[in-house]
Amino acid sequence: MLDKILESLYLKVFVNIVVQRTKTVVYIELRSKKEIIEEETVEFNTTALNNEMYNFIVRYAKESPYYYISIVDCSAFQGALPTCEKNKFSDYKDLSTAQYKCFENKWVFYTSKNDIYELEKKYEDVGLDFIFSPFVILQNFFKDKINGNLAMYVLVQDGFISVSMFENSQLLYAEHLEVLTGDDTDDILLNDEMDENMDLDEGIDLEDIDVEENDIEDLDDFGDIEDLDALEDIDEFSQSKDVEEELQESLDTLPEAEEDESFNEDYQRFTLIQSAVAHFYKDEKYESHFIENVYISDCIGVTSDLKKYLEEEMFFNVYVRQADLAVEVCELAKMELGL
């Protein structure tokens, strides 16, 4: 009771930290009971808590005893599973070393306990209050769409993409993927080339290739392709388009690709999304349906290339919404506090 009275007398300070590849974005929001008093976003050229960032955070934290420091989890181990039943977790992933939380009794999001510990240790000077999973941010950002038909939702961060498939608020599939930098991708390409060379040296033994009967049967299914040409199906496709989202998107035009690096990264993102979709379709553990719409929450400013790739290569209806990840983190922190 006394706490609530005291709480109502003070401002609330939300410090939201988003760690990117080479910098850290800190978004501060000072809020009274009714309105936002002050907000400020500052970028620091570091991925760790340096003195400059510490002083900046502490300066605002001193404004009120009710300050909350939130951060986005960037653990590579994290993900989400389409069930909340503990005995079914092992069907998808071993979560013995993971910390997980059930979201509205429908699906679970998890991350590595060690990574949580390391993150808390890294920011122990200021102290973390909330660590949010990108999947929860994604769910909250697209909460107006997620309770509808099956669609793919992608959160594009600097260095990571979080891919998830939702149908009527139920998660079907989720994957958190790291987007490698230009140097990393060169290394991978080099390694691939080396593997290819090695294979070439060894030659191709046709006898080693097993052509299973099942594969041939699968090929027979191509006969069904004729059905896709039917006019009714084409109508269905056109109906599945999200007109409202298209209208919104027409107002926010995506920037054109200018540099090779962004082209390379968007292509990487496309390949990662492609592999995630392939995994979703192929893996029998997941209840796979045909994806038509893709909603992208763009937190870094992707180029129109990504949308083009997805539309042209995978025939998706792609809708891109601009998002400020730090602001979304702040929204979640407020929701956690019931504001």
């Binding site: 706490d3 979201f103 949580i116 209050d129 909330f130 949010f132 929701m335 506090l337």
Partner: protein
């Protein structure tokens, strides 16, 4: 926590520094209240003592008055006793002087002391002895002196001497006493 992996730290404006300050003020207040209570108690006991002392003073004053009255009475008694003692001494001296006046040849059989006079009964060999040896000193003391004689069996004379002083002289003697 519905969305976060960790719980937020407990937030309170009552920091350890504020707690110390509050504790200090709390202790100070308690000490002030205790001092105030102590003073109130002391004030109460002081007022009570004051009332007691006041009643005792009144009681003692009454006693003092009584004792003063007793002292006055005793002093009067003492004065009276001294007066009586002095009177007795004077009387004793007077009697002694009286008997010293009586010559050896005259024998007193009875002496009666009055307030303003003296009556002597005795026996004398003759009137001359009485007249020269006893009447002369008696006349120097008393203003009026009457003597009557009558003969005794052995031929001596029995006498009755009545001596009186004046009233004014008698009063002077009283004042002197």
């Amino acid at each position: 926590m519905k969305y976060s992996f960790i719980k937020p730290k407990r937030k309170t404006p009552i920091t350890p520094e504020v707690q110390i300050v509050f504790t200090f003020f709390f202790i100070t207040l308690i000490m002030l209240f205790l001092t105030y209570a102590f003073l109130l108690y002391k004030d109460y006991t002081f007022a009570k003592d004051k009332t007691n002392i006041s009643s005792q003073t009144q009681h003692l004053q009454v006693n003092i008055k009584k004792m003063q009255a007793q002292i006055d009475f005793i002093q009067k008694q003492k004065a009276l006793s001294e007066k009586v003692f002095t009177k007795n001494m004077v009387l004793k001296d007077s009697i002694s002087n009286l008997f010293d006046l009586v010559p050896q040849r005259i024998t007193l059989s009875r002496a009666q002391l009055l307030k303003n006079g003296l009556i002597l009964y005795g026996i004398t060999p003759n009137k001359d002895v009485y007249s020269f040896m006893l009447q002369a000193p008696l006349r120097s003391i008393f203003h009026t002196s009457y003597t009557s004689f009558y003969p005794a069996k052995n031929g001596w004379l029995m006498f009755v001497s009545t001596n009186y002083m004046d009233k004014s002289q008698n009063e002077e003697l009283d004042i002197e006493n």
